[in-house]
């Protein structure tokens, strides 16, 4: 049996997973110029809440949108309660706070929700497409990723709010000087990123199953995908996600075996970055002297 096609399909499906979380990273990067390492855990946390809602009898879509809204609030709250106070702190201090958030959310989730692995429903039909390359859920999740991409892309490209967010991330002082409510923009950026993350989580959970560790693996790949695409570029994140997913599978199957596939995939990604230091779709911000 030829495995190339199924491997490609499996790669695309996992790639879609990476892409969806990568989009959340891009969202927060674009609106704050930080890479939020806690993004995955925020998504995991929200997915747990969705799971609780569904278990307590909510219809899927009601739980879905409630979770998206809640994730928005969570994101915005973290920004306005915590990150805001660090506005003048060095970048690495903020990175450390992200790490702190990551371990806090992870630890609290373990404490609240336990360590058992749970199934999470998919909104897409459970067609028994035996033998098909991709399941309905996988197709649906990829579709959802594209939908989010479109929204993020149009938002930043063509909406005044998107422009203000980009400007805020780049130069908060100048933004204030043209009347942008910077605090609100940053909170919104975190909120949107939280929501995207929650959607990503709810699309990922049916595939990888829901537990507190659900995102630790995904985050590594999502980070790689977002950076490969050129952090800050939404299409880049999605393309990056697919590339990482497929690359990893092909390397694992045909080149070095599963043991070193992540290593080799990462080496290849870094090689690409050395040739294109701003990622595939990123553009350099030139600093003139």
């Amino acid at each position: 049996m030829n495995t190339l096609l199924p491997q490609l399909a499996a790669g695309l499906a996992t790639g879609g997973i990476y892409a969806s979380l990568a989009l959340a990273l891009v969202m927060v990067y674009r609106s704050t110029h930080h890479v939020n390492f806690a993004q995955g855990e925020m998504a995991m946390f929200c997915t747990f809440i969705a799971s609780l809602l569904i278990e307590s009898g909510w219809p899927y879509w009601a739980a879905f949108f409630a979770t998206v809204a809640l994730a928005f609030t969570l994101g915005a709250a973290i920004e306005s309660v915590l990150i805001r106070r660090l506005r003048h702190a060095p970048v690495l201090s903020i990175v450390v706070v992200f790490v702190a958030l990551l371990v806090i959310l992870h630890s609290i989730a373990g404490w609240l929700f336990g360590y058992a692995i749970r199934s999470f429903p998919s909104p897409f039909p459970q067609t028994g497409a035996a033998g098909a390359l991709l399941s309905a859920h996988q197709l649906g999740a990829v579709g959802m990723t594209f939908a989010m991409l479109l929204v993020v892309y149009l938002f930043f490209r063509h909406s005044p709010l998107g422009l203000q967010m980009r400007a805020t991330a780049e130069n908060p002082v100048s933004s204030r000087l043209v009347g942008v409510r910077v605090d609100r923009m940053l909170a919104l950026g975190w909120g949107f990123a939280g929501s995207i993350g929650a959607v990503a989580g709810m699309m990922i959970a049916p595939v990888v199953f829901l537990d507190v560790h659900m995102m630790s693996g995904v985050l590594v790949y999502a980070f790689a995908a977002a950076v490969l695409g050129g952090i800050g570029s939404a299409p880049g994140a999605v393309v990056g996600g697919f590339i990482v997913g497929v690359l990893e599978n092909l390397v694992g199957t045909y080149v070095v075996g599963a043991e070193l596939k992540l290593t080799v995939a990462l080496v290849l990604i870094i090689a690409v970055l050395v040739a294109r230091p701003n990622g595939l779709f990123g553009k350099a911000v030139v600093v003139r002297v």
């Binding site: 996992t14 336990g114 360590y115 692995i117 990888v208 630790s216 790949y221 599978n249 992540l262």
Partner: protein
């Protein structure tokens, strides 16, 4: 005639442990918590011989250097009488030599690597978990007997756990290993999915799938295998063959036909519903671990292990020296633990540290485990 080593006195016995309460293996932290709960129950019932158990369980995050630190703290600062039930192969390996040099009992470890059964060189270390390679040999033998023409695909976790199994399995197949195994695929615990590995194994034409994996990968495997319409005979390591923690989330119908081995009662198996031992266990759990998730498999293990520990200490009487603890641990005579399958007895002798000596091959029918032939002794 009372005799004491550090950690023991007229009023208490100190027991030390490091456990993965955090980190990638934090699911095993539940074991430590249930063991603590068991000791609490013993104390509530008055302890024994007037002594209370003081159980000090530290978090090592499944990181060996942390284990070293923790164990040294337990032995040198907290002055425990013995180390008990510590989790993980790498972590225990890190303190293996230390415990033996210091002559501190290092008992009932939660790891099934074969190195723990080495009474000559490391008399102070003893595991309580079924030996991984031996279990793997059971599967190998089963395949050789029932499906001698099998084309085998193996999925294993890329660490000492998976590799120990893999080694035992190949030994079990012997000379036929080369021809029968058509593909091996490993995964990392951190891999988000095992889809690619499943595609690879299926692509190699395997009609028998052997998974030496832990819970998460096992669930994903069951689901993926089912969804793609692949129908191999599926052997699954007993640590991941759990109805509540693995089959139910994956969908029990997807696990029909899974073959594994068992030595204890699966609490999510309806056949034990009215079993006295099960009910006692349930009552204990309800009272002392009310927040615990009973779907996890680890509570039964923890309960049995803690009970055995208490039995060993009881057997020591008033001679609570480290040497005596070890002597008692190494001379257990055919104990039937309540939550173990009827017929699985625990025993040890000074030159055989393997406590669990037989396993029951079982097959899952979508609801419960069914015995598959007789007990198999493992050596």
């Amino acid at each position: 005639q009372k005799k004491y080593d550090p950690g023991a006195s007229d009023t208490e016995i100190r027991i030390g442990q490091t456990m993965a309460y955090s980190g990638a293996a934090s699911i095993y932290g539940e074991v430590g918590k249930t063991q603590a709960a068991y000791f609490r129950m013993v104390n509530d019932q008055g302890g024994f011989n007037g002594r209370k158990l003081n159980f000090i369980s530290l978090d090592d995050g499944y990181s060996p250097p942390k284990t070293v630190e923790g164990v040294r703290r337990l032995v040198e600062q907290e002055q425990v009488l013995l180390l008990y039930g510590m989790f993980g192969t790498a972590t225990n390996t890190a303190v293996h030599r230390y415990a033996n040099a210091k002559k501190v009992p290092h008992l009932l470890l939660l790891t099934g690597a074969s190195k723990w059964n080495d009474p000559q060189r490391h008399p102070w270390s003893m595991s309580f978990y079924p030996d991984y390679p031996s279990e793997a040999r059971v599967y190998a033998r089963h395949i050789l007997e029932h499906k001698p023409t099998a084309k085998i695909g193996i999925l294993y976790q890329n660490d000492d756990y998976g590799r120990d199994y893999l080694r035992g399995f190949k030994e079990g197949l012997g000379a036929r290993a080369k021809s029968m195994i058509v593909s091996e695929a490993s995964y990392e615990v951190t891999d988000p999915t095992v889809d690619s590995q499943i595609v690879q194994l299926r692509g190699a034409g395997a009609d028998v799938l052997v998974s030496f994996s832990t819970a998460k990968a096992a669930i994903q495997t069951l689901r993926r295998v089912h969804d793609t319409g692949w129908k191999p005979t599926h052997y699954l390591a007993q640590g991941a063959a759990l109805i509540g923690a693995v089959f139910n989330p994956a969908g029990p119908e997807k696990a029909i036909g899974v073959i594994s081995t068992a030595y204890s009662k699966d609490p999510n198996d309806p056949q034990w519903e009215n079993d006295a031992a099960f009910r006692e266990w349930l009552a204990f759990m309800k009272k002392y671990r009310p927040e615990a998730d009973l779907r996890l498999g680890s509570h039964v293990y923890a309960y049995s292990s803690a009970k055995l520990m208490v039995d060993i200490l009881r057997a020591c009487g008033d001679n609570l020296t480290r040497e005596n603890v070890l002597r008692q641990a190494a001379s257990i005579k055919a104990v039937q633990l309540p939550m173990f399958l009827p017929g699985v007895v625990v025993s040890s002798s000074p030159d055989d540290y393997r406590l669990i000596k037989s396993l029951q091959p079982v097959v899952f029918d979508g609801k419960r485990w069914n015995r598959l032939g007789e007990f198999v002794s493992i050596f």
